[in-house]
């Protein structure tokens, strides 16, 4: 009975998700304007449809328009086009051609619908697996866009998911039902026949199989290794057969045609078109951190960035619950980062496992804590024994102590925060300063919130308004959800800055924390020197080293300027390149920040009792093993507060950015620059983001340090 209820509720949930997804896709199918490549695949479909209509089945052997991509999806478009009246054949066009705007409406709609239906199937499969993941996939705007147009991603996205679904089924059956194994191989073949790079999910399956069934080193023998690899070979061979069977274009001349179509992609990746797009290697992360930026009004829900962030937080849990999917996500992302072609549709390769990780992240970090919070409120009892009431426990007594500080805090920090929130709901800028000083901000926001004025978005187009206007949450939304690149930069910046500082600080402390090191005190004094120097001066000192034209480094490298490889050439304008700028900033931040980590590490190392080392020495541990198994586990908990403090400082880093003028900014530095340009409202909005992120970070800080010492409870 219970099982029936469980299945029914799961099916109902999945149905709701599917209905939602269907609505979103139907909208996209009819509203999206024609895009690049749609004309090509529509033409390919038309060629097949024409052949089928005339009973000429040889068309499948003859035709594969755009032969670099295998034909399966195009064949499906061919069958879909049978449902509508034939229209004039879409003309041939070169790869570099622009968008063909006048595609025949009916065939376009039919082919798009076919693609969207296939994607709907993918959502359905995912929703049966994990309803929340299905929901995220149904919202994902890049997935919607590229499966609601005549593109090739819809089918392989479905089949590559099925590869993993069937494989996990096989694993769950205790590897006893080979039919799942073969079904998985079948789907892998279909995937390859639809679009090559989606086979990465198959590679994840293979890697997982090889790792989990690997024989013990001691039992290695030819027979054992054969037993280990044979199932995989059968699987791969079956997939290859299926691929060949569903790629009829290969039948007449397999070797040449396969080689041509495979080699095309390597050449294309090195072609001028890809190079001129000038997308950086981390562009896939940028795509993942934004919703589709084109076609305003088509996608009603744009939460792609949220999905990615949730996925990042849910990775740990997903790794345990969905190991193969997580492996797929990791390998897919690695492929996207390495492969030189960076088109947006490539992210569809991983949106299914991404949604699963996001669902786990949502459950682990939002749903379950919320649920626990509700329960704890319900269960909380006030236990107050009279003995507990001591001299200090009288609320009225505390007021005179608190008031002076609290009043000042209220005037000079709480009020400003409220004011910022209000400002972010207006278009306040320097030209309206008179109105703003006379209470314009509060007037507008009050009228806006009480419904007397509507958000005045037209005011945003006015270059220099003399009055403040209410614009509602437009700006806050834009900053919160459309600054994916800045979040991404902040994330990498913070993590790398703290990691490098910790590594150097701890290493130096470990070197010095031994008996009989000469000049110990002198070294210590020297290594805290950077800490004593104002960050501003530190930034100046490093900018005179890295300055592209007259800096120490570029002057030193001048004689060899031609030989220095592009990738590390700091004399050719690193200020225009995010990756080089990040390295420069990290070096400067390392210099300024490692002394703090050094001090904290020294303090921590002093607290590890000598007996621990003696015991380890008796067990014969030394060098790296001593560090890895004795020192690190003992010191890491002690360093958590220092790590989080440095992380927060890095997140807020300001002077370094103000002096170095890199191409990317932290929120704090960006806010300052925008403020000095006179755009007060945007600056205030950025500050709100900073406050929000800080609340999260400090909450985390509190939890982490409570776990081992207690910060607010100390």
């Amino acid at each position: 009975m219970k099982a029936v209820i469980k299945i029914t509720s799961r099916v109902t949930l999945a149905l709701i998700v599917i209905l939602l997804a269907a609505g979103l896709r139907a909208r996209a199918v009819s509203l999206l304007p024609p895009d690049y490549d749609e004309d090509d695949y529509l033409r390919a479909g038309q060629l097949y449809a024409e052949g089928i209509r005339q009973g000429d089945w040889g068309v499948f052997l003859r035709e594969n328009y755009r032969p670099e991509h295998p034909p399966l999806t195009k064949i499906i478009y061919g069958f879909a086009l049978l449902t509508v009246e034939p229209a004039g054949l879409v003309p041939e066009a070169s790869v570099q051609a622009g968008i063909n705007q006048d595609l025949p409406a009916e065939p376009l709609h039919a082919a798009r619908t076919a693609s969207a239906l296939i994607n709907l199937l993918e959502v359905a499969v995912l929703a049966m697996l994990n309803p929340l993941a299905g929901l995220f996939l149904s919202f994902h705007t890049f997935t919607i866009k590229y499966t609601s147009q005549v593109m090739l991603e819809g089918l392989p996205a479905l089949t590559s998911l099925l590869v993993v679904v069937f494989y996990t089924r096989f694993i769950q059956s205790g590897r006893k039902q080979p039919s799942w194994w073969l079904l998985s191989a079948l789907c892998l073949g279909l995937t390859a026949a639809a679009k090559y790079y989606f086979v990465i999910s198959g590679l994840a399956v293979a890697a997982h199989w090889l790792w989990t069934t690997r024989p013990e080193r001691s039992t290695w023998s030819l027979k054992r290794v054969w037993q280990w690899a044979a199932p995989l070979l059968v699987w791969g061979g079956a997939a290859l057969l299926v691929f060949f069977a569903f790629d009829p274009y290969l039948w007449p001349d397999p070797i040449t045609r396969l080689r041509e179509s495979l080699f095309y992609h390597g050449e294309y990746a090195a072609s001028a078109q890809v190079r001129e797009a000038g997308l950086p290697w981390w562009q896939p992360l940028n795509w993942l951190m934004m919703s589709v930026p084109w076609h305003p009004g088509v996608f009603t829900i744009s939460i792609d960035m949220l999905i990615t962030i949730l996925a990042a937080t849910g990775l740990g849990r997903a790794r345990r619950k969905y190991p193969v999917y997580t492996l797929w996500l990791a390998m897919g992302l690695a492929f996207l980062l390495i492969w030189p072609t960076k088109w947006a549709q490539y992210v569809l390769l991983i949106t299914a496992p991404l949604s699963i990780a996001a669902a786990e992240g949502f459950k682990a970090h939002l749903a379950e804590p919320f649920w626990r919070c509700i329960q704890s409120i319900r269960l909380k009892r006030r236990d107050k024994s009279p003995n507990e009431r001591r001299a200090y426990d009288r609320p009225r007594r505390v007021l005179p102590w608190l008031l002076p500080g609290l009043i000042i805090l209220a005037v000079i920090s709480v009020f400003p925060l409220v004011y910022q929130a209000a400002m972010a709901m207006t278009d306040f800028q320097a030209s309206a300063i008179k109105d703003g000083l006379n209470g314009g901000v509060f007037r507008e926001v009050w009228q806006g919130i009480s419904g007397q004025v509507k958000p005045n978005l037209a005011a945003l187009d006015d270059g220099r308004p003399a009055k403040v206007h209410y614009i509602g949450l437009h700006l806050v939304n834009a900053i919160l959800f459309n600054s994916g690149e800045t979040y991404l930069f902040e994330f990498f910046w913070t993590v790398l800055a703290v990691a490098t500082q910790l590594a150097l600080g701890l290493s130096v402390a470990l070197l010095l924390h031994r008996k009989g090191i000469l000049f110990n005190r002198a070294w210590q004094a020297l290594f805290i020197l950077p800490w004593a120097i104002p960050e501003f001066v530190a930034a100046l000192a490093w900018s005179q080293i890295f300055q592209p034209r007259f800096g120490f480094l570029s002057l030193a490298a001048k004689p060899w300027a031609q030989q220095v490889p592009e990738i590390v050439n700091f004399s050719t304008g690193w200020q225009g390149r995010v990756d080089l700028a990040l390295i420069v900033l990290l070096v400067a931040a390392l210099w300024y920040g490692f002394p703090f980590m050094f001090l904290s590490s020294m303090a921590g190392l002093k607290m590890i009792p000598a007996e621990v080392y003696d015991a380890a020495a008796i067990d014969g541990a030394s060098g790296y093993r001593l560090f890895r198994h004795v020192t690190w586990p003992l010191i890491f908990p002690l360093l958590i507060p220092a790590i989080i403090i440095r992380a927060i400082f890095a997140f807020n880093q300001f002077y370094l950015f103000a002096v170095m003028t890199p191409p990317m900014y932290t929120f704090a530095a960006g806010s300052y620059i925008i403020f000095s340009e006179g755009n007060y409202a945007v600056s205030a909005g950025l500050n709100l983001v900073v406050v929000l992120v800080l609340i999260l970070l400090v909450g985390w800080f509190n939890r982490m340090s409570k776990a081992n010492a207690g910060v607010t409870d100390a």
Partner: protein, 282 residues
């Protein structure tokens, strides 16, 4: 502490430390070599490790006229007034609240502590816009007093947080003994807890002071009268000149750092032990 190291390892260790030392000293030497070179007028055009024309002339120039209207000492005075005033205000107004959070139990204590911790981590820039407008309305924006208010506001949460930890590390029993002798909270605080916590408060004050001393961004936006400029602002001013005189910039940067480096070296021990942002010793 792990055992003594062998001679070979010791040499390797010293070499590794030497490399780190070079990393620490390289940018400082870069500044010094620029500042000591009297032959430079704009940017350096050739690579050298040693100044072409070693002289202290640039330092002397910067001593006399680092900015349009003030000498080095004048700027230093402004810096001391602003950073010192802000520190005193933050310590003075923060001490009572810190004591309340350290000793009393009252509703909203946990929430208050959390808010103060968030406040302590807020970047200065986050409060800038409203404070600019607030000070503009009461005509204090371009004054030193206004800047003192801003820096004090920024320092207050940090000071409360740090002093709270200092007060907490002093046992309650001392105070409770005083209560038995008939003392009130005020006397207990003033005569027992505060004197005992003075070293930690001193360190807190030093950190707060350093913030005000090296801050230029807010001052640069708020202060228009050049007679109210601080050292950090003057340094930013030199940097913002059309053609940056690298020697002067470097000399002034070193002259600005020197007082603080001296303070740090003197107080090194105390800093090692007492900067308890989160209690590392717990």
């Amino acid at each position: 502490m792990p055992r003594k190291v062998s001679a070979r390892r010791h040499i390797l260790t010293q070499l590794a430390l030497l490399v780190v030392a070079a990393f620490v000293l390289a940018p400082l030497w870069g500044l010094l070599r620029l500042a000591l070179d009297a032959s430079l007028h704009g940017a350096p055009t050739e690579f050298r490790l040693w100044p072409l024309e070693p002289s202290l002339r640039v330092f002397a120039d910067m001593w006399k006229t680092p900015s349009q209207s003030l000498s080095y000492l004048g700027l230093l005075r402004n810096s001391l007034i602003i950073a010192g005033g802000a520190t005193l205000a933050a310590i003075f107004f923060g001490a009572a609240s810190a004591y309340a959070f350290a000793r009393f139990r009252f509703p909203g204590r946990q929430g208050g502590l959390f808010a103060i911790l968030v406040g302590a981590f807020l970047p200065l820039v986050a409060l800038m816009t409203p404070l600019y407008l607030l000070l503009e309305t009461i005509h204090l924006r371009s004054t030193m007093f206004g800047l003192i208010l801003v820096y004090a506001a920024f320092n207050l949460p940090f000071c409360i947080w740090n002093m709270r930890a200092a007060f907490q590390s002093i046992t309650k029993e001392l105070e409770e003994a005083a209560f038995l002798d008939g003392a009130g909270f005020w006397q207990a605080f003033w005569l027992i807890t505060l004197p005992n916590a003075l070293p930690s408060i001193g360190v807190t004050a030093l950190v707060a002071f350093l913030m005000g001393y090296s801050e230029f961004a807010i001052g640069w936006l708020f202060i228009e009268r050049s007679s109210n400029a601080t050292l950090a602002m003057a340094l930013w001013g030199v940097r913002s000149l059309g053609a940056v005189p690298w020697s002067q910039l470097a000399a002034l940067a070193l002259m600005m750092s020197l007082p603080i480096v001296i303070i740090f070296l003197v107080l090194q021990r105390a800093l090692f032990d007492r900067l308890n942002f989160a209690d590392l010793k717990s």
